[in-house]
């Protein structure tokens, strides 16, 4: 039989261990949070340091007492940053809208309609998921060039609207809507299209919003395709703009203005993320991938 003082010793050491353990956990988590946040802090900090201050600091300072917004003005004046933002906005909105249209129809066909060859078609669709973008981009580049669509929005948008994965995701969600609703709608004489618009889409709105947001993020950050297809500044998206800015724009040394541009470009998505945090994280954990 264990003695009483053994018991109290065990109690005390258990409590101590727990405290030490959670202390270490919080320390490690905070270190990683610092690593994640530091680049954001640095970009914000640098963007409000004046040009002369920044270049005068041989040893970088961790804060500034005389913040300035001049860099933001410079950034917008030196390169057509507003133009880039507008281009990206147009590209993002149109691409996302067309994609939603395409995938809703396709997912509905797979989830609800009966037609010959459906299973074969679905299998073929799924197998397309394995095809890496790098393999098809070469021909797409040739296609768009041959169609004379370089430096147009059409050329930017068309190859970007296809997403087999989102069709799959949406089809799974559509398939969860009980059959009974469909039959009830049929009995009431509702057409398939009306059923899709009036019943399916409202029920699956959360998934649609998630897919929309993920696509918006993807569009906003897209770099490779726009870089291949545009060499006219008037059609640059923000990613290309940033790269242009770095290599030819402000001159390599005006880093504060560069950081101001980076802040301007990053803010829209961060705001979007903070608003739709739960939806985005849930959507990504259901199978989104980076890039």
């Amino acid at each position: 039989m264990i003695q009483s003082d053994d018991y109290s010793r065990i109690k005390r050491s258990a409590r101590l261990h727990k405290k030490i353990f959670s202390g270490i956990v919080y320390l490690l988590l905070s270190i990683w949070a610092l690593i994640v946040l530091f680049p954001f802090y640095w970009m914000l900090l640098t963007s409000v340091k004046s040009y002369s201050q920044y270049n005068g600091e041989y040893i970088p300072q961790f804060f500034t007492l005389s913040p300035t917004l001049q860099n933001y003005v410079d950034a917008f004046q030196a390169v057509p940053l507003a133009r880039y933002l507008l281009n990206t906005f147009i590209f993002t909105v149109i691409t996302t809208a067309i994609m939603m249209f395409v995938i809703v129809l396709a997912a509905f066909a797979f989830a609800r309609l009966q037609f010959r060859g459906k299973n074969l078609a679905f299998t073929l669709f799924l197998s397309l998921m394995m095809i890496p973008n790098e393999l098809v981009i070469i021909t797409n580049y040739a296609t768009i060039t041959n169609l004379d669509l370089r430096n147009t929005f059409l050329g930017l948008i068309l190859p970007s609207v296809t997403s087999v994965f989102y069709i799959y995701l949406l089809k799974e969600n559509f398939a969860q809507v009980p059959d009974a609703l469909y039959y009830a709608a049929k009995v009431d004489g509702t057409s398939d299209l009306k059923y899709l618009l009036r019943i399916m889409i409202p029920i699956c709105k959360p998934t649609l919003i998630t897919i929309g947001i993920l696509k918006i993020i993807e569009c906003w950050n897209s770099y490779v395709w726009p870089r291949l297809i545009t060499d006219d500044e008037n059609y640059y998206l923000v990613s290309n703009g940033i790269q242009e800015l770095r290599e030819n724009g402000l001159g390599r040394e005006n880093i504060p203005a560069m950081m101001a541009a980076v802040v301007v470009i990053s803010v829209p998505l961060i705001v979007l993320f903070l608003i739709f945090r739960e939806k985005i994280m849930a959507g990504v954990s259901r199978g989104g991938t980076k890039g």
Partner: protein, 296 residues
């Protein structure tokens, strides 16, 4: 009912059109490109059919450099990021207060433009005439010598590259692992605690086997993603990756297609197919290993 036979296809039509033109046709086309020797983009003519393009690519020192770089990035970043993500998710799952906040912060890199934040990393690591940069400041504090990570020695560039890649891929891994951990039924942990199982043993004998499918999923997608590494390199070292000795396989493909040495879709196709074969092989090996190690 006869009408319905066509209706389904009608709904699929937009998707089929887009996928057909921009995915299926290119897929066939890329194979054709890759065997057309001496293809000229302007005149759209070629000399011969054969495997010269592959041979050229495989002997191109730039391509070999890209392959070496890519493999190094994969081998370094995949294990480190997966392990680190596992550690952080374990920590996240064991705390209650502030958990949401940490999760939100950790996810931030996912939604930011990699090109943009890459610039920040560049200025943090870069050594110029005016300043040694933030990171060198830290190194100096610990008594080290300043190093130019962006235009300096190969290992330093590779180091920044890997650090940045890890920074970028962590949010996804942490998120997936955290949700995998939270889906492990609490009663397994209760049962283990009743039996007096230590933390380490719980992790090795219960948690890890239970989430092993997710870990393998992350390793597989991690390999695929790392092999396709490109824009992170551009973000740090600029578009002329060959000059920086930091090109990747995907970067090579794009350079062949368009860029300083560009205009050779046949070489680009051959390189893309080589990449696809590598990724496919590695994925198959991964799947075989995971079959052996996932027990249920």
């Amino acid at each position: 009912m006869d009408k319905n036979k066509w209706k389904g296809w009608l709904y699929l039509l937009p998707a089929i059109l887009f996928l057909g033109v921009f995915m299926v046709y290119p897929l066939i086309d890329v194979l054709i490109y890759s065997v057309e020797e001496g293809y000229n983009f302007a005149s759209q003519t070629y000399f011969d059919i054969g495997f010269y393009n592959f041979s050229y690519v495989l002997h191109d020192p730039y391509f070999l450099q890209a392959v070496k770089n890519t493999f190094l990035m994969v081998v370094i970043t995949v294990p480190i990021s997966t392990g680190l993500a596992l550690l952080i998710s374990m920590g996240l799952s064991s705390i209650r207060p502030l958990r949401k906040l940490y999760q939100t912060v950790y996810f931030l890199p996912y939604v930011t433009n990699t090109l943009a934040v890459g610039l920040v990393f560049m200025i943090l690591f870069k050594k110029t005439a005016y300043t040694d940069g933030m990171v060198n400041l830290l190194i100096n504090w610990f008594g080290g010598e300043s190093i130019d990570f962006i235009d300096g020695p190969y290992w330093a560039k590779m180091l920044v590259m890997c650090i940045y890649i890890i920074w970028v891929v962590m949010p996804f891994k942490i998120l997936i692992l955290t949700s995998a951990l939270s889906s492990v039924n609490q009663s397994y942990y209760n049962a283990a605690r009743v039996d007096g199982t230590g933390r380490g043993r719980i992790f090795l004998k219960i948690t890890l086997p239970m989430i092993s499918p997710t870990v393998f999923y992350l390793v597989i997608t991690g390999f695929i993603g790392a092999f396709k590494q490109y824009s992170d390199a551009v973000a740090l070292f600029g578009t002329d990756l060959n000059a920086a000795e930091m090109n990747t396989i995907v970067g090579y493909v794009y350079d062949m297609l368009y860029g300083d040495s560009g205009g050779y879709p046949s070489y680009a196709s051959a390189a893309a197919i080589v990449l696809f074969v590598i990724v496919l092989t590695i994925t198959c090996i991964n799947l075989l290993i995971s079959k052996k190690h996932i027990h249920y």
